[in-house]
Chain length 345, copies 2
């Protein structure tokens, strides 16, 4: 008998009322967070540690499509991709700020859904929301997240420390997030052509989840700390294995060999790439992007320390710069690797 409650309009709460409502359930868990939302600036205290800062801007129609991205997932992902950058420095994320540009017609309940995802990411990763800005946008939704973390200065992994002879390792698997996006785009097209059709996502759950709900590998950073290992170089894979390995090689002044058969690719990803999209699973792994796994270089000694403790894969070796960056197929044939990251322009 009950009617669906009428959506609350933003102007009913006003900017301050909205912020209060959205942030009321956030509680700080880190000692380093002295003051969160509610003053001109947040106050943080890291004592002797270094501060790591990273920021990303996500824009509707460019980075996400609300036709198939649930708002809660969007909030979660917007936070996680930033935490992933902090982890990629071998540091622990601790605080975020979140700025939103919202159409005034966006109901408060929808913003709350987005915040549910932000809150979940904060909870899972032990991160505090300490500030932000909420403003109107004439066209579409935009989310700007800045993440901060800390590390002891000598524990930080940059992109520029890879050494000839290093083992090139990765966590997780590659290409699935890219294929998940292709599936979502395909089903959206089917639905646009015939709104009676329901999207068919059965059998693609792994791929879709990798696209919609990526994770930052904080677990791996914790295991590095426990094992006393600091990767010589590290990056998180957002543009694709090839492009991101190239960043390490360029900044370290080295070359690399990647062994195709060692690149971890999920079974579902392999099958969907081959059978449905008729593309090479390796190409998806090299150029797909959005995996948010870690790509890092370890000395032989460090590799031995973590190989059995961590679920990592050895995918290549660092070689002299003069050898370039090459992919070796199972027959031993080699191909030059090219950067084919995303270019939104």
């Amino acid at each position: 008998m009950s009617d669906t409650p009428k959506p609350t309009q933003i102007h009913e709460l006003g900017e301050f009322g909205l912020i209060k409502r959205l942030t009321k359930d956030f509680e700080s868990v880190n000692e380093s967070t002295i003051l969160g939302v509610g003053d001109d600036a947040a106050i943080i205290r890291y004592d002797q540690k270094s501060v790591l800062v990273s920021t990303d801007l996500l824009i509707e129609y460019i980075h996400f499509d609300l036709a198939y991205v649930p708002l809660k997932h969007l909030g979660y992902k917007a936070v996680v991709v930033n935490l992933s950058d902090i982890c990629a420095m071998n540091a622990f994320p601790q605080q975020i700020t979140v700025s939103l540009g919202l159409s005034s017609s966006f109901p408060v309940e929808a913003i709350e859904e987005l915040y549910e995802g932000i809150k979940l990411a904060c909870k899972i990763y032990g991160v505090d929301l300490v500030g932000g800005d909420t403003t109107s946008s004439r066209t579409g939704l935009m989310i700007s997240v800045t993440a901060m973390g800390s590390a002891e200065a000598d524990k930080i992994s940059r992109r520029n420390g890879a050494k000839v002879g290093d083992y090139v390792c990765v966590t997780g698997d590659f290409g699935a997030a890219y294929l998940g996006l292709q599936i979502l785009e395909r089903e959206k097209q089917v639905w646009k052509d015939n709104p009676e059709m329901k999207p068919q996502l059965d059998g693609y759950s792994y791929l879709v989840e990798r696209q919609l709900k990526p994770e930052a590998r904080k677990d791996v950073i914790r295991l590095f700390a426990e094992a006393g290992v600091v990767p010589n170089a590290m990056i998180d894979v957002s543009d694709g294995l090839s492009s991101d390995l190239m960043h390490i090689c360029k900044q370290s002044g080295v070359g690399a060999r990647l062994f195709e058969e060692n690149i971890p690719i999920n079974k579902q990803a392999h099958q969907v790439a081959m059978e449905e999209f008729k593309i090479s699973p390796t190409t998806c792994a090299l150029s797909g992007g959005e995996d948010y796994e870690l790509l890092f270089c370890l000395s032989e000694e460090d590799f031995k320390k973590v190989d059995e403790k961590l679920d990592i894969k050895l995918v290549g070796r660092i070689v002299d710069e003069s050898e370039g960056m090459k992919l070796f197929d199972p027959k031993g044939q080699s191909f030059d690797l090219v950067a084919q990251g995303w270019n939104h322009f």
Copy 2:
């Protein structure tokens, strides 16, 4: 004989090429900046000091109108409004990150102009650009800036420390930025109705400059430090004197008396408000906003320490919460102050 050079399109450079071109002239000046742009995250080191973090999102058509805001000024202002938040904590701004959402049709030369303003603000305020994100936007320009600064923990001024008996003081003057905006909007309308007409900005230079090129009062923070004074409470005036004083009163659990005749209003602002817009200059000062001056509460003792060293005005007193927030006119009549800040929704 020379032709105007053809504007460079963003896709000719690509995302990495664009970032490289935009950030090439930025050099870090602060010891606390260990690593700027070019890795997954920036590395900062503050040692024993507290970190202050603030962020703002500026969106075209909502916060600025490129019909009359020059890009260089926009870049400058986007940085300064964030630095102002750090100063309002009685802290020194040191780093910023800048994320841009740009239409792909925006020529590189225009983005460079925007960056000229960002660079100028960095130079004037001794701040380092340490990161950001540059991405495409389907509609309009957006700028998200996060500023970081540092202070010793016991030197930070929050909004919640005002005490009964405190002197309420301000820097600079109020209402001019608001009136500058009204002038610019009026001239835009004239120009829209008749594109032959040139905008008439002669005689409004102070107002227009206050709107287009605000400054953060880092000079005042430095003088506080030299005098060994820490305001009991402080805020920067972005929403208007009334609204921002209300933030202090609410968070400190106090009331305030504001003396109308003491509120500093520039002569040009006074005249334009009265003669051209037929509005009360006091209303412009109380509710206009965007002045980016500091509003702060000092004990009598601290007031005496800085009164002669600083160009500050005593505009009121902090009283018991039960007295509320009142404006006293020159005849001694009192009026309840109301918050009338900006609401973009």
